[in-house]
Amino acid sequence: MKTMTYAEAIREAMSEEMRRDENVMFMGEDVGLYGGAFGISVGMFDEFGPKRVKDTPISEAVIAGAAAGAAATGLRPIMEIMFSDFFTISMDALVNQAAKMRYMFGGKAQVPMVCRTPGGSGTGAAAQHSQSLEAWFCHVPGIKVVTPSTPADAYGLLKASIRDNNPVVFIEQKLLYRTSGEVPVDQDDFIIPLGVADVKREGTDVTIVTYGRMVQRALEAAEIAAEKGISVEVVDPRTLQPLDKDTIIKSVEKTGKLIVVVEAAQTGSYAGEIIATITESDAFDFLDAPVQRLCGKDVPIPYNPTLEAAVVPQVDEIVAAIEKAVNRG
């Protein structure tokens, strides 16, 4: 175990995989000497050189397309899109090419690529640099989607993503980059398989399903609720696609109450998917309170910090939702 930041865990995972496998390489805007807009790859250019850590022009379409083409022919590229909002420019390559190549070619292609990108608000970067777009990617068969909430998860999931033979969209969060935690870097091949949820806190009264930076908030809310005698279980799916439905269903069957917390704009967010997963499952019969979701407001992210903070679910709102659920049950 080693204490490191989320950013360092990502760098470590990439570096280890690049040391292990000659065909893993990394490209993106300003990822070389500069070390990336968020400093994630600082030092990697020195270690791996210009062949394996490549600066690209500001050309998000070809970054993704080239990654797909390279992956289909034998490399295992990791690409970085500087802000997840810029994925709007890479969508054709990702959705119409990378995600579909295998299926539409009759299973005769494989596209092992990882698209790393930071999402989320909270840095005062406003509407075009703060979106949470994971729901889009989850809606595209052929793509896997990963949303780590801790340094250890980021580390183990990124290593698994790099070894996965499919296009993986790996969504990081700007506000998590500097958070730190224990990471089992010394453990031989610490891999967290994609599709396995993590119960971040066990509880019996209410289930909260959440991911990314909202996990921390949910845990804080759970702590406050605990003081009030309410036992909250916090389930972090960690990968949204594939989704570990079993763990979520089991938790809801135990608690009978479900709250989904996501940072993304509510309408069309992945919260709806998680809720539908429950209401169409056997867990439906265990529900004894209306399912609640706490999501980002349906608004572009504003610049002013007070407004910006008001967009996403707050700890006290989560606490209120917990109390509402329990009082109903």
């Binding site: 080239a66 289909a72 490399l75 090419q97 070619f105």
Partner: protein, 319 residues
């Protein structure tokens, strides 16, 4: 430039197969035996076949939506290709791709593409692999004149040029992007001029002349293999049929079409072969007949092949 005798005759055969393939596809469509849509390259066979045959073993090609001639030029199992158009289980894509997605990655065919310009960046990536793994191979990237107006063209050529990737951007300029004539979709006449934006060579070849096509691609490939980076090649040609299966072609004149049909690339090569005494008239007729026969057999094979079982629907989404 001269092309080796064997190669030339194989080229002639493949061009005839391509023509016969597409005539058969037209026939199948008209009878409802083939569904969906398809884009015929009749008239563009020299451009599609000679370019691919100029490649070396191990080289890759990324095809456009109008990719039948190129696929056949690159080397293909006609049975599997026809089966794919008929949506059969033993088609190249197990019936899941169809005309717009014929691919054979293992053998270097990176796939036709239903997204206009989608192949540019895929090719850049494939070329990156060649450079990274020092294979010495090149990637031949097909696209149409209209495709060069996509942003993906620009980003791809720029990146390939900076990274000196071994990729030939091969633009089949058939003067139209669907119904849109070249002069209405760009303000220049020669697409090769666009190379200037990327500091790479831009050359033009007569897309209806196998010799010019072949030589141009060989030279471009040499440039790539020498580590000098990508080349933009414009191949001037013409499609005889409509854009896709339903197209009244109100946007062009009968005269223009006839002018170009008079430049039939197959007839041109046929005449050459006979005039140069490479083969007699009868021998050439025999090649023509074989090509047709091959396609008839491919259709027969495909028609009698099984459809994919519905149980395969969910297979191959993920690796």
């Amino acid at each position: 430039m001269s092309i080796e005798r064997e190669t030339l005759l194989e080229m002639y055969l493949r061009m005839n197969q391509a023509r016969a393939f597409e005539e058969k596809v037209k026939w199948g469509f008209a009878r409802g035996m083939i569904h969906g849509t398809t884009h015929l390259s009749i008239g563009q066979e020299a451009s599609g076949v000679a370019s691919c045959m100029a490649l070396d073993q191990g080289d890759k090609a990324s095809l456009s939506h109008r990719g039948h001639s190129a696929a056949i030029g690159f080397g293909v199992d006609l049975n599997k290709m026809m089966s794919e158009l008929l949506g059969r289980a033993n088609g190249y894509c197990k019936g899941k791709g169809g005309s717009m997605h014929i691919a054979d990655i293992e053998n270097g065919n990176l796939g036709a593409n239903g997204i206009v310009g989608g192949g540019f960046s895929i090719s850049v990536g494939a070329a990156l692999t060649q450079q990274y793994q020092e294979t010495g191979n090149v990637v031949l990237c097909f696209a149409g004149d209209g495709a060069t107006n996509e942003g993906n063209f620009h980003e791809s050529l720029n990146l390939a040029s900076i990274w000196k990737l071994p990729v030939i951007f091969y633009i089949e300029n058939n003067l139209y992007a669907m119904s849109n004539p070249l002069e209405k979709h760009m303000n220049i006449t020669d697409i090769a001029d666009r190379a200037a934006s990327y500091g790479m060579p831009g050359v033009i070849c007569d897309g209806n002349d196998v010799f010019d096509v072949y030589q141009t691609i060989q030279e471009a490939a040499k440039h790539c293999r020498e580590g000098k980076g990508p080349v933009l090649v414009e191949s001037k040609t013409y499609r005889w049929d409509g854009h896709s299966k339903s197209d009244a072609q109100a946007y062009r004149t009968m005269e223009e079409r006839q002018e170009w049909m008079a430049k039939d690339p197959i007839l041109r090569l046929r005449n050459h072969i006979i005039e140069e005494g490479i083969k007699t008239l009868e021998e050439v007729d025999a090649i023509d007949a074989k090509a047709k026969q091959d396609i008839e057999e491919a259709f027969e094979f495909a028609w009698n092949s099984p459809e994919p079982d519905v149980s395969t629907l969910m297979e191959d989404v993920y690796a």
